[in-house]
Symmetry: C2
Subunit: 161 residues, 2 copies
DNA sequence: GCATATATGTCAATAATCCTGACATAAATT
DNA sequence: AATTTATGTCAGGATTATTGACATATATGC
């Protein structure tokens, strides 16, 4: 497809263009997780630990089942990861006073510190990308990612915006 | 100083805004790989097989070592995955006539078909997101992802554009 | 109050995936 | 001829995920 036709019909998306987007996502996601992965390895943790720390930090007081439904993993898988984080005091559980079956999750001071270190690397990377791309690019970035996210996740996490 | 003000930066990007970007990337990448993962599972394949099929399809005739350096995994890891794809005739190897040590990789007809099915799901998802977000958003999306990608990968895969 | 459902946790077996390390072969390069 | 490069393989082990079964405490509906 020639450039002239692309200009004439900007919504025509070439296969090449779409595949380039796939590669961009692949490399961006890999490089985005590279630094935190290296830090986590020093603690004997993996990416799953990061996700738990991140989401608990972003939703203090969430329940175990809420966390499970965000992560979409089995409770047995979460058990190992969460168990380590509890044992090593990065996360603490508090029985919900309103429903004593539920265990609400919180970051400890130590957990918050690790969360800060990990997020700092990633937010710095994003901030750099935002600065380089310009403010107007940020809206496009967000809009396209939202379009890629499935309806279910979008409703649950990004609807109130 | 409050946490939200700690990470000062020239564009006044709030901590909340940057964290939202992290979540968007997480959910987008997960949902983006969900459909292909389900298809691959029917063949007894995983995401690693997808990556091999994708990159060989996008770079027909590439060598094993080139593939290894793109994927950043060990040759032992690739061996299992590539061995399966060779055994089941999704990929074929041809000895390079110019350097008979090298084995050039190609998709077979069968491999190309699978590649098409997998990519179709993902390109449809991206095309939908592009259409919804509008042309100007696509440029922003690409620009920010490029900024997130590390220098090394950017030079190797996106420099000539 | 009793039966049922929910939230959480745990034990066991299994499978997938990736890793390190060692070694082997063929072919190219110096 | 010696060395390096490209590829492949075997062996062992670590990690992470899965399914399935079961246990406990608590809440809820009737």
């Amino acid at each position: 497809m020639q450039a002239s036709l692309q200009r004439a019909n900007p919504l025509f998306l070439s296969d090449r263009e779409l595949r380039k987007a796939m590669e961009l996502l692949f490399f961006a996601y890999r490089d985005f997780t590279e630094e935190p992965d290296a830090i986590l390895a020093e603690y004997g943790f993996g990416r799953a630990h990061h996700r738990v720390i991140y989401f608990v930090g972003a939703n203090e007081g969430m329940s175990v089942s809420e966390l499970l439904s965000i992560l979409k993993i089995t409770k047995q898988s979460l058990s190992r990861v969460l168990g380590q984080l509890l044992n090593e005091a990065f996360i603490e559980q508090v029985t919900d006073t309103e429903d004593r079956r539920r265990r609400l999750l919180f970051l400890t001071e130590k957990g918050r510190e690790l969360e800060n270190v990990l997020s700092e690397r990633q937010t710095k990377r994003i901030a750099k990308a935002y600065r380089e791309a310009g403010v107007e690019a940020v809206a496009g970035f967000s809009a396209v990612l939202r379009g890629i996210i499935g309806e279910e996740d979008k409703k649950r996490f990004f609807d109130n915006e």
